[in-house]
């Protein structure tokens, strides 16, 4: 029983790690995305630069994912 509880807690932790990180990424990308679309509407050549800024916060969710994978597979 103790094992099952432990596994369950690890799973919840892993879920929280990736879920909350995803939420954070979403909130960051919301602002960047709105500004990026505005900038691209003004000047199409900004697409590449806008995309770089747009995807910067994505790294946060990858961190969350790494932690959750470590939680499941390593612990």
């Amino acid at each position: 029983m103790a094992d099952a509880t432990q596994a369950g807690l690890i799973a919840i932790g892993a879920g929280l790690a990736v879920g909350l990180a995803g939420l954070g990424t979403g909130m960051a990308e919301k602002d960047v995305g709105a500004a990026a679309v505005g900038a691209i509407t003004e000047d199409q050549t900004l697409f590449g630069k806008a995309m770089i800024f747009m995807v910067l916060p994505e790294t946060i969710v990858i961190f969350g994912l790494v932690i959750s994978i470590m939680a499941i597979f390593v612990m």
């Binding site: 697409f47 590449g48 630069k49 995309m51 770089i52 995807v55 910067l56 994505e58 790294t59 990858i62 961190f63 994912l65 790494v66 994978i69 597979f73 390593v74």
Partner: protein
């Protein structure tokens, strides 16, 4: 290949009398990037457009107007025309001739259009009038009576009932609203108007006639007129269609030819001229300097003088000494046929500077590779390759071509990874059995044992030969890397790929600074970063060995850790010369950058997860199976109808995964190039090499003469 082509600056001087010939000769070279002249105190001024340009502009305006009138689309496919023929036709006034013909037809159609509009409005009036018991002649020809005819929004009958000195006719229906005709003595007109105004009266004009004609009869005649005009209109449209077919290729050809003529005629506006001569400053690829000089001198003889000024090196100091207009050198990317297709991806960020490495080649190598690593599935790869090849064959649009080229090469990598690395197609491993104690057995999670994973050998009911299983790498259990089973391995691999990719980026940065400012500056600028990077990687590796693999911190491991810490300190010390405290702040960024590459494994996993679920839905829940000796087996013969239905669902579900693979795989592969790789060395903001050349699509030179330049 990695560095833009070397450029040289030349000055072309010639006599103004032969400027037109010179312009033709410059355009024929297709390798001369003109530096715009800025008026200074050198006694030269900006030139005036060639004499013929104004006439050409006028004609171009006419041609474009005709194209619009005839509805010729911008990208309409037309036959190519010979430049010589077109020039003769333009000179002999064909544009004006065609314009006359087209305008005549267009005017005729417009007149008919207007007439039909008028007739239709008259028709509406008559349709209203036929509701009243009057003939058309009754509405006019009175001396002492005022006539008011019009529509009303409510029934006007009650309001007009008590009107003195008046004869009123009204009709009202809820659907068609009301109509009222009031014949009233002129003195009482205002009173009638007041009564009508309350009913929402809007006056309309009635056709004046002395004939005793009922509106219904007039309507019949009018309808016949409209019919006749419509017929004429159709004929006019047909005539325009004939004109369009007849002159389409002429107009498109003339459009292009005149546009080129105007562009060439406007060149003097960009160069310096004096009373008798012109001076053109230009960048040309260094390898072509001698050829261009020889060509121009052959064509223009003594009327031109080409002087070689300098070959610009990649040193930034050299650039700073120049006057402003010679400072920036245009970038001509040194791309082969395939690399050229990836130039668009680079240009989305910026054009590379003349003094830096062009990342296009690196994008060409890594973008499809990462895409292939993330997709890694033979089943998805084949449609990618076909779609990419088809796209490259048919489309000329830059956006679509860049997508097609990623799909094609990414598809090839996906196939290679899918076949030799993951060993799977459509999210299912080729070999589901595991080799345990000398026998191939179904593992616990396999559908044969009531699990969820499906494999091709189970579906096909075959055992693949041992040599085939030998081709595939084995990490956990089973042949081939499982995207969902060997997660730790895939993550590690992604991190190693990231380290190599980032190191390439940092070394490109080192080379860039070395080219621009010399070895010492390069070491101070990038050497420290590279030392920190490698030391950080080594330090993190020792930590993971200690924490996850429980290796005791002693002997070699301890030595590596100590050395890495020492180098870390040295690296930070070098960096802090430029960046101050930011050098320490950058350290977590190194780990962040490397971990960012775990997305390669994460996206592969996400797609495998979806495919696993879909395959289980189809094979575990829909397809007919039977159980023999405790092993579940695929049994398609028992219910053919269900098999067909399941296959349709199977195709649809995998189409979803496939489409998502383009989006997530493509975008993340691109992001790793843009954010992780290119920020390490790429500055951009270069000027694209734009040589003088004629872009001809609709026209061609039938005789390959040198633009009709006379030999001197």
């Amino acid at each position: 290949m990695l560095i833009p082509e070397s450029m040289s600056r030349v000055v072309i001087v010639g006599t103004k009398a032969r400027m037109q010939d010179a312009i033709d000769a410059l355009y024929a070279e297709q390798a001369i990037h003109v530096i715009d002249h800025t008026t200074g105190d050198d006694g030269m001024s900006i030139g005036a457009p060639c004499a013929s340009t104004s006439k050409a502009s006028e004609r171009l305006l006419k041609v474009r107007a005709m194209e619009k009138e005839l509805g010729i689309a911008k990208k309409a496919k037309t036959a190519q025309s010979s430049v010589e023929d077109l020039r003769t036709q333009i000179e002999s006034g064909s544009v004006e001739g065609v314009e006359g013909e087209v305008l005549k037809a267009v005017d005729a159609r417009n007149d008919l259009n207007q007439k039909i509009t008028e007739l239709n409005s008259k028709k509406r009036t008559l349709e209203l009038l036929q509701r009243l018991p009057l003939t058309l002649d009754m509405y006019s020809g009175y001396h002492s009576l005022a006539v008011m005819v019009g529509t009303t929004t409510v029934d006007a009958g009650p309001a007009l009932k008590d009107l003195a000195y008046a004869e009123c006719f009204t009709d009202f229906s809820k659907k068609d609203r009301g109509i009222a005709a009031v014949f009233v003595q002129k003195e009482a007109k205002e009173q009638a108007a007041g009564a009508l105004a309350e009913c929402g009266f809007v006056e309309m004009s009635v056709p004046v006639t002395t004939e005793k004609v009922k509106p219904a009869d007039a309507l019949v005649k009018l309808n016949a007129d409209i019919e006749e005009c419509s017929e004429k209109m159709k004929a006019a449209d047909l005539a325009l269609g004939v004109l369009k077919a007849k002159y389409m290729s002429f107009l498109k050809g003339t459009d292009e030819e005149l546009a080129i003529e105007i562009e060439k005629g406007s060149l003097p506006l960009r160069v310096a001229v004096s009373k008798y001569s012109y001076v053109i400053d230009a960048w040309v690829p260094t390898v072509k300097v001698d050829r261009i000089k020889a060509d121009l001198e052959t064509k223009l003889g003594n009327d031109v003088y080409v002087e070689f000024e300098e070959t610009r090196t990649r040193k930034l100091a050299e650039e700073n000494d120049e006057e402003p207009r010679f400072k920036n050198v245009p970038t001509k990317q040194h791309s082969g046929k395939i690399t050229k297709e990836f130039e668009y991806a680079t240009s989305l960020v910026s054009v590379p500077k003349y003094q830096e490495i062009d990342p296009t080649m690196l994008i060409m190598i890594f973008l499809p590779l990462f895409f292939g690593y993330m997709v890694g599935d033979c089943g998805y790869a084949i449609p990618f390759i076909i779609l990419g090849a088809y796209g490259l064959k048919v489309t000329h649009n830059k956006d679509w071509r860049s997508i097609a080229v990623v799909l094609f090469f990414g598809g090839i990598w996906a196939f290679i990874f899918g076949f030799l690395f993951y060993g799977e197609a459509l999210g299912m491993h080729f070999i589901g059995r595991e080799y345990v104690d000398g026998i191939w057995e179904w593992p616990a999670g396999h559908i044969a044992n009531g699990g969820t994973s499906v494999s091709w050998d189970w579906i096909l009911g075959v055992t693949f030969p041992d040599w085939f299983a030998g081709l595939l790498p084995v990490v956990g259990g089973g042949a081939g890397i499982g995207k969902l089973e060997d997660v730790s391995f895939l993550l590690k691999l992604a991190v190693y790929i990231g380290i190599i990719h980032l190191l390439i980026g940092h070394f490109c940065g080192l080379i860039n600074i070395k080219m621009q400012r010399g070895s010492k500056a390069a070491f101070m600028g990038k050497g420290g970063v590279i030392i920190t990077f490698i030391a950080m990687v080594a330090f993190c590796w020792t930590l993971t060995e200690m924490m996850f693999h429980k290796v005791p911190m002693e002997g070699t491991l301890l030595t590596i850790m100590v050395i890495s810490i020492v180098f870390l300190v040295i690296g930070v010390a070098i960096n802090s010369k430029h960046e101050g405290m930011m050098a320490v702040m950058d350290l977590p960024g190194i780990i962040g950058n490397i971990l960012s590459y775990t997305r390669l494994a994460a996206i592969a996993m996400s797609k495998a997860g979806m495919a696993l679920a879909f395959n289980y839905i189809v094979f575990g829940m829909m397809m007919p199976t039977k159980v023999v000796d405790g092993i579940t087996m695929f049994d398609p013969s028992s219910s053919i109808g269900m098999v067909i239905f399941a296959i349709i669902i199977f195709c649809f579900l995998h189409l979803v995964v496939w489409t998502l693979a383009i989006l997530s795989g493509g975008l993340h592969a691109l992001r790793l190039q843009y954010v992780e790789l290119m920020t390490k060395f790429f500055e951009g903001n270069g000027i694209k090499f734009a040589p003088l050349r004629e872009l001809r699509k609709k026209t061609f030179f039938s005789a390959k003469a040198d633009n009709n330049i006379k030999e001197v």
